[in-house]
Symmetry: C2
Subunit: 360 residues, 2 copies
């Protein structure tokens, strides 16, 4: 049997504290100081009606004045409950970069807000995009009640596997066939189609497409693009497809490459506003006037799109609605309801980067 002194010594050693460091306050300390049992403190702090009003306020005041905070880990363990959601952002080992696209970052903020409103905490983590199923460990280990994955990448199969195991999981991304898991996302096909229709309607004929078609969301936008092209009997030139990641620099390189290779194009449809803005900037540097020579349409409608010069025509995806829908969906799942994937409507926002060609 270890005596108290021994326990405290072990604690110090294990936590690497020096002997001067103060021990963290716990319920038994409050109990001792208040001259009651821990049960009473527990009840008092949880606002139980079982405890005397006077005692309760006395204990509450004492706890507050000592900056005592309940140990949520121990409480959760005892209660078999948990108010934490793991929010997971895949990262690409290849490009290896930190998440930086404003759209995803804002989505994170929106999810955080929705979670906070429900009184849940958010454990933010990154996982290798090649091993999305690693995200489930937070659920399996009881660390989180469920998982919100921002970005589905490839590996539809891994996600299906998690869903089959009944891991509470909601993914921001595209609704795919044979999908067991729940997604929330914009209507990518419609978005791609609307953007392309808009450009074609303006009289644009050779529309470059910027986006990594390996990603399901982008693939659907690309399908919408192809569909619009086909409807108007316009040929698709494979050289106009630039399968690039969501990184500004890649858009610059792609546009520059089109120009250098003298591949004609009179419009750009970029799969994010950042890519679009980078494209506009590159076009300008090369003496191509936007929107007259080349019209540009972006995607997401981030805040800055409206301030851009020229203000950017884009496809709006509502971040507020998206973030909230992700959270709503997860909670529905937790309550045992089988949720269908949600496809949120997108909207074409026509601003100044898209006009008819001059010779029309």
């Amino acid at each position: 049997m270890w005596g108290r002194a021994v326990r405290m010594e072990r604690r110090r050693r294990e936590s690497g504290e020096t002997s001067a460091a103060k021990r963290r306050l716990q319920m038994s300390d409050i109990a001792r100081l208040a001259g009651v049992s821990t049960s009473t403190v527990s009840r008092a702090l949880s606002g139980s009606a079982l405890v005397n009003e006077e005692t309760r306020t006395r204990i509450a005041d004492l706890a507050r004045s000592l900056n005592y905070s309940i140990n949520v880990g121990a409480k959760n363990l005892r209660l078999q409950q948990n108010r934490t959601v793991a929010v997971v952002i895949p990262y690409d080992t290849a490009s290896g970069q930190s998440i930086s696209d404003p759209f995803f970052l804002r989505m994170l903020g929106s999810v955080a807000d929705a979670l906070t409103e429900r009184g849940f905490e958010m454990l933010l983590t990154r996982v290798d995009a090649e091993h999305l199923n690693a995200a489930a460990a937070f659920y399996d280990g009881g660390r989180a009640v469920g998982i919100i994955l921002i970005g589905q990448w490839h590996h539809h199969d891994q996600l299906n596997e998690l869903a089959a195991r009944r891991v509470p999981l909601v993914v921001w991304g595209a609704h795919l066939a044979q999908q067991l898991y729940c997604t929330v996302g914009g209507d990518n096909f419609a978005g791609g189609e609307a953007a392309t229709e808009h450009l074609i309607g303006l009289g644009r004929r050779r529309i470059a497409f910027l986006g990594d078609v390996e990603l399901p969301e982008v693939a659907q936008r690309f399908a919408g693009y192809r569909e619009a092209l086909a409807r108007h009997r316009l040929p698709f030139d494979r050289r106009l497809l630039a399968p690039i990641a969501f990184v500004a620099e890649r858009a610059r390189a792609a546009v520059q490459s089109l120009i250098d290779r003298k591949i004609e194009f009179d419009a750009v449809f970029a799969c994010s506003d950042v890519l679009a803005m980078s494209s506009v900037s590159t076009l300008r540097e090369n003496g191509r006037h936007v929107p007259t020579d080349v019209s540009v349409v972006g995607y997401d409608d981030i805040e800055m799109a409206a301030f851009f010069n020229p203000p950017l025509t884009t496809i709006r995806q509502s971040i507020e609605i998206g973030g909230r829908a992700l959270v709503d969906c997860l909670f529905a799942l937790l309550e045992g309801r089988a949720e269908l994937p949600k496809v949120l409507s997108t909207e074409l926002i026509v601003r100044a980067t898209s006009v008819p060609p001059p010779n029309r």
Copy 2:
């Protein structure tokens, strides 16, 4: 005494699961299936040399195949340890908005990366900017080993109080006098001075200042602005100060108001790139040419600043260095080292929104 059946029933009820729901796997399950004790499983999974090689791999395989993940909460409780850092973003109840400025969002990403590298998890939460000390609850309750606060707002006093209580805390913000807590931030005075000097050097005389001078960081930039003005014996016109929050719309309104009130100005120094871009957009709408009529300097150098049209002159703060410094600082604190506040150098990036006035 409760029997096993009773326990399981209670568990189901409390967690709101239906009777069909599977119980989460735990160590005792693995032990039973492997025909060993939980001690052995524990040792096997933690790679202890005390367990037979063959047994270890057998247990590891079994655990993996069943998707067993150790319960980190229970483990932490037992071990009195923890690998979680609380990252806290203050929100303003007044403006009440979700965090949206790209700079802070990117900083979050950078901190997440640095934490991930060290094998720590990040608990992301928001607290009311008026009660920053509420952030300490995560530490007091043993939820997190320390706290990173992104944005110091007013309430220097509350933060000092936490530091006095020896809560491991690092704040992104300004280095203030009488500061007991550790901050990491850019050199705001130098940044404000450099921006203003640059504009004055160009021949600009009436420089509007956009930013909430109630915030310590902005106050220091403003002090730099005043200093530069004074050095050149330029008067300061109070009407040119627009004390606005970091919200694009506020910049639009502020610039519009200056124009409507016919207050002359030939330059704008905005305390964030978003404010600067919004200003440029508003100026253009009012027929003022940027940079000729009005030159503009932003702050932060977010990615988009370079793609803006015209490319935005701005003060760069390195997000990568900042995020890493915050994390480094926190770990130093945890190791008992008293860290001094870090003031990171800023850099004036001259692009195209700032030129000499036309009549010079």
